[in-house]
């Protein structure tokens, strides 16, 4: 393009030439101002799927085991929150969990959840138990996603305060203490380590939980067989199939404290889908082992379909 210096066109020609200056000049200019930071509006700054889902006790995690990830899509300079509703229709029981979670500065997680567990068959048909869980989790080190050049996982510690709400529709049986539990209420402590191995498209999660909980606490804490804390292992493996879909499996060890129960570990195989940062769905095949077999005379594993919906930001 040739520039003829005639009247006004010279100005237009000059400004065009300026904008086409080589990069060395452009690079020396200060960058344009970033939009002002707004700490009220959540930034939803995390990558898809990295908010996790809701573990049975309400914490950010898989379906059965908390992750070291902080729930919600807020980055380290923002916050996130979500609500969840989970239902598992098992052989002889219905399990529900619903609650709310907050993630602050990708550092602290606060969750409140309620669990309802109702017998839908056997001699216990119609009997239900319920508890509330207040969870606190703090990320202590590492980053599950960025640190792809080291084996260091993201590590978080957490505590869950569990308050039992009693037994309903069981006649004279109104407290889990009548089943042999030491306490109606209890506290779980855990440490979780989560690593995303991007090179392998894998998410690995390991958790160690100190707990007295019988069937998550739904049957109280401690019992006639064992009344102290025991360390229980939890683990999750997820394969990232697409940017929005992960498939995998989980394992959650549980103590066996009650003579009236024959509690064993739970596991699941899941598909998780996050179409946007505002909604996610988890479907799983769940097996929690047999429940109260000495009472119901049903020794079969309680298995069924687990569905969980999470909405938030």
């Amino acid at each position: 393009m040739s520039c003829k210096v005639t009247s006004l066109s010279a100005i237009a020609c000059l400004s065009f030439a300026t904008s086409a200056l080589p990069a060395e000049n452009a690079a020396s200019l200060p960058p344009p101002p970033a939009p002002p930071k707004n700490f009220i509006v959540p930034d939803q700054g995390k990558l898809l799927l990295t908010a996790g889902f809701n573990e049975a006790d309400g914490a950010g995690g898989g379906g059965l085991v908390p992750f070291a990830l902080i729930t919600g899509y807020g980055s380290n300079e923002s916050y996130g929150a979500n609500v969840h509703y989970t239902h598992a229709g098992l052989r002889d029981f219905d399990f529900k969990s619903y609650g709310v979670g907050f993630g602050l500065f990708d550092r602290v997680e606060l969750t409140i959840a309620r669990q309802d567990f109702e017998a839908t068959a056997t001699a216990l048909d119609g009997v239900s138990v319920s508890q509330d869980i207040f969870g606190l989790k703090v990320r202590v080190l590492g980053d599950a996603v960025y640190e792809q050049d080291t084996w260091m996982p993201q590590v978080a510690v957490g505590v869950q305060f569990k308050r039992h709400r009693g037994i309903e529709d069981a006649g004279p049986l109104v407290s889990v203490e009548q089943l042999g539990a030491d306490d109606e209420d209890g506290t779980d402590f855990y440490i979780a380590a989560t690593k995303v191995l991007l090179d392998q498209s894998l998410l690995l999660n390991f958790q160690l939980r100190y707990t007295k909980a019988n069937q998550l606490g739904l049957l109280g804490f401690g019992g006639d067989r064992e009344d102290g804390y025991s360390p229980e292992v939890g683990a999750s493996v997820g394969y990232l199939l697409t940017r929005k879909i992960a498939v995998g499996a989980e394992y959650r060890g549980k103590p066996h404290n009650l003579g009236a129960d024959d509690e064993s570990a739970a596991w699941d195989a899941f598909v998780a889908w996050a179409p946007t940062r505002n909604i996610s769905v988890v479907a799983a095949y769940l097996n929690i082992g047999s429940v109260l077999a000495p009472v119901t005379s049903v020794t079969s594993d309680q298995t069924g379909i687990y569905l969980s919906l999470q909405a938030g930001f």
Partner: protein
């Protein structure tokens, strides 16, 4: 001649085996599809990024032609392709930009989308992102 046949067969087999090994050890650059696919990825990234209000303002003073070449060189270089990266270090090129984690992740998301449009399988996208991810330390203030 007869006695040489098995030797020839052995050599042929050995060559085939070597070819197999070479095949298995194709660089990430080759698995992705080399220069045309990475150039396409860069073009698609620019289109996506320009519409992305989370990060486009940070490219306001960028020489787009030069940036595209450098991004291609970097993608080619880190995936084991035959390119040298001629740009500044990540620390130098981002020190005046106020990049936070949300912006870093937004850009990563746009790169994923660009790879999608260029037809790169998600499994390979993650392998590239595994190399990019630790650069967060130098890029985010």
């Amino acid at each position: 001649m007869r006695t040489k046949t098995p030797i020839g067969a052995l050599i042929a087999a050995a060559l085939l085996a070597l070819a197999g090994v070479a095949q298995a050890e194709a660089t990430l650059y080759e698995q992705i599809g080399g220069e045309p696919v990475l150039r396409k990825t860069v073009e698609e990234f620019m289109i996506i990024m320009e519409k992305d209000d989370r990060i486009n303002f940070a490219f306001g003073n960028t020489d787009i032609t030069k940036f595209k070449q450098l991004l291609f060189e970097q993608l080619c270089n880190i995936t084991g392709g035959p390119c040298a990266y001629t740009g500044r270090t990540m620390k130098e090129s981002h020190e005046k930009l106020d990049v936070d984690n949300a912006m870093f992740n937004a850009l990563a998301e746009d790169v994923y989308l660009a790879f999608d449009r260029a037809g790169v399988p998600y499994r390979l996208q993650n392998k590239v992102m595994a190399i990019f991810a630790p650069m967060q330390r130098d890029i985010v203030k």
